[in-house]
Subunit: 392 residues, 2 copies
DNA sequence: CGACTAAATTTAGAGTCTAAATTAGAGGCT
DNA sequence: AGCCTCTAATTTAGACTCTAAATTTAGTCG
């Protein structure tokens, strides 16, 4: 039998402060006390008390009357605003060959960005590179490392709910190079490690194709295929962070290995080239972009390759539709624009492949999905801890 | 921007009452006020006030001093207990050919059970049969229909979060025969419709193989194969209630249609019989039980059938392991004892089929999983609404 | 019968909220 | 200038809730 937490007399204040802060956070600008009252169902007295609390703690500010234009009636309203600049968060995309760091304010607006190539060698050096990149980005927007309230970081490996890279297999071990501990030690940063497809899902829900959708599967389909799944708006991770892995596709059907769009385009494009298609391009030089370009120019062989890819993707989308029964499947990753050309064909195939076809969209976020999702993850963490955080 | 709810001054009391009630509910018997204080971190004064509230409302009782044996020091403690008999819940398994109704008290102890064959014809008649069965079960334990605080009901169809059977396809339409509305109208019962595999998952988590496990996939593998998935202890439903559907297996690999263990045993058993196996049994007479019995007797052909079935099940378990990454996969359904004979073979196959093999167990609940899960579902609903319910 | 003990009850005090009454600031009108 | 109107801020009174400390109570034990 487990204990149930119990509240002190401050619980009510805590709840109300949270509610007010949440309303302020979501509002784009200043809100008058009366507006706050409408949104929270609290009394004026309470709202004012809470707001003054929040100002005290640094979460809100009361801008000095830059009042709206035109004539106004009545006593001027006190107005409060969320201090989006009270701190900052970092979103990091830990790619295989490079790392990208995004700095955002507490409303999620991007302040700066920095990218570095990643040496594949020593771990210590990788960490140094990432730290340096983060510092560069912070400097670019005039923020101090002490402003950072949370850091989201995404990598192409399963990560469990505690942020551990769970390499049962030794293969994943290389991904766990102690980044979280290192950044905590150096800067005192709270680092939230996450699978990249999961972050992409958060990003789509936040600012992408899945706004307002509660049940969605996001498929990163660039080089490898991986999926992030939201159910009832919640991210699913599974016991070891492997929720949404599609590796089983490799032992299934004609799908082959869980290869992404880019990889398939290269592979099958090269095949087509050896057989004389693609304008006789040398097979070794075939790139994904080249195949798509050729298809646009009307090359028959290239179009055939696209058809094959579309069928594969349709099958993957069908499986996602069936197993997770989402309202929407988003195709994302670095190849989003290519994917949008496959979209009509995928949609056409889908009803034949599943009894519960989801809506299918292509991500409007392109390659930014993972960093944005990392920012979102960090912001969620900050929001959840707001009233426990001592602002710098 | 959405409103955030705000509390009145009663919030604290509400939270505390909830906490105390929860502790009482989980305790097996009486608890002294001091014990309650330990578990809730509340003051004695508060605990007593809350308990008297709860007694007033009918949720708790203060039994008159059937004090423990042996010598005791100090003033006798006031002791309170959850009133498990303050109401009742119903758990219904709506099978294709029969309906089973379970009556349970508010702690989930079974009070009575009744089963009826189901006429496949008119819907009105089906509802009558179910209602009659429920009344029979209630009568058997001396409960009135007015005692019923919630009804859980499971059927082999996708059901969304609002309890609607979502037949995009006409096929599912037949499952939605207005049971919830009818029972509400006749008895004022709150009916919670749910997919049967989902209920099985709840049952396993409650009293089955998945106690204490947060991430689990439960596979009903009797006639058809369906799965219920819990992630972080929460049931996953998806947009239309179809989460965990495995229909895609039909277009995959050598798995064939999503047939269950019993169906495969009959089918392949009959094949084996035509080829002279199974001691020359007439193919039409081959039943699943016969195949299993023959295998136990050492029949080679029957054993071969079992091997084939084990391989199929191993593949399904592997896919569940990969996609949902649970800590545990439970094989349930009416064929649980048969499944336990397949278990070693399934476990042996698994590591070769997935990178994230889950633990595999066979359900100890047998055919009772769905009704038990339905009871659990109803109890959860009651627990969530406790303080809003007016007890009869 | 009194001492001991654990628990119940009482009392005092501090937060929090709402609701109603009062006061404050700005503009408009005569 | 003086008064009116309007909206919002502030003040005041009252009601809950909780905790903590002091006091009383109901048993057991010697």
């Amino acid at each position: 039998m487990q204990d149930v937490t119990a509240p002190g007399p401050h619980l009510v204040r805590w709840v109300n402060a949270r509610a007010v802060l949440e309303v302020l956070r979501r509002a784009s600008g200043v809100l008058s006390v009366s507006e706050l009252m409408d949104h929270t169902r609290l009394t004026r007295a309470t709202v004012i008390a809470v707001c003054e609390d929040l100002v005290q703690r640094g979460w809100a500010e009361e801008p000095d009357v830059p009042r709206g234009p035109g004539p106004q009636k009545g006593r001027p309203a006190r107005r409060f605003a969320f201090r989006a600049d009270a701190g900052a968060v970092l979103g990091i995309d830990l790619g295989v060959a490079k790392a990208t760091v995004l700095v955002a304010d507490l409303r999620g607006e991007t302040l700066a960005q920095a990218t570095s190539g990643m040496p594949a060698e020593a771990e210590a050096q990788r960490i140094d590179t990432i730290a340096a990149t983060a510092l560069r980005a912070l400097e670019a927007c005039g923020r101090s490392p002490r402003d950072v309230l949370a850091v989201g970081a995404g990598m192409a490996a399963p990560v469990d709910r505690e942020g551990r890279v769970v390499g049962g297999q030794a293969f994943w071990g290389q991904f766990d190079f102690g980044l979280a501990e290192a950044l905590d030690e150096r800067f005192g940063w709270r680092v939230l490690l996450e699978n990249d497809a999961n972050l992409a899902a958060l990003a789509e829900q936040w600012r992408g194709a899945a706004r307002g959708v509660e049940d969605v599967a996001v498929m990163l389909a660039g080089e490898r295929v991986g999926a992030g799944v939201l159910e009832s708006g919640r991210l699913l991770r599974g016991h070891g962070g492997g929720f949404g892995e599609l590796a089983f596709l490799s032992m299934v059907d004609g799908v082959g290995a869980p290869a992404g769009i880019a990889q398939l385009a290269r592979e099958w494009g090269a095949e087509a080239a050896t057989e004389g298609g693609l304008g006789g391009m040398p097979p070794e030089e075939v790139s994904a972009e080249a195949v798509f370009a050729a298809a646009t120019d009307g090359d028959e062989a290239a179009r055939a390759v696209l058809d094959r890819i579309a069928l594969v993707m349709a099958r993957v989308v069908a499986i996602l539709s069936t197993v997770f029964n989402p309202e929407l499947v988003v195709i994302g990753g670095a190849v989003a624009d290519a994917a949008s050309r496959l979209l009509p064909r995928i949609r056409a195939q889908l009803p034949a492949l599943t009894a519960t076809p989801a809506r299918v969209e292509v991500s409007p976020l392109g390659g930014r999905a993972v960093t944005l999702g990392a920012v979102r993850r960090a912001l969620d963490d900050v929001a959840a801890r707001s009233l426990e955080i001592d602002l710098p």
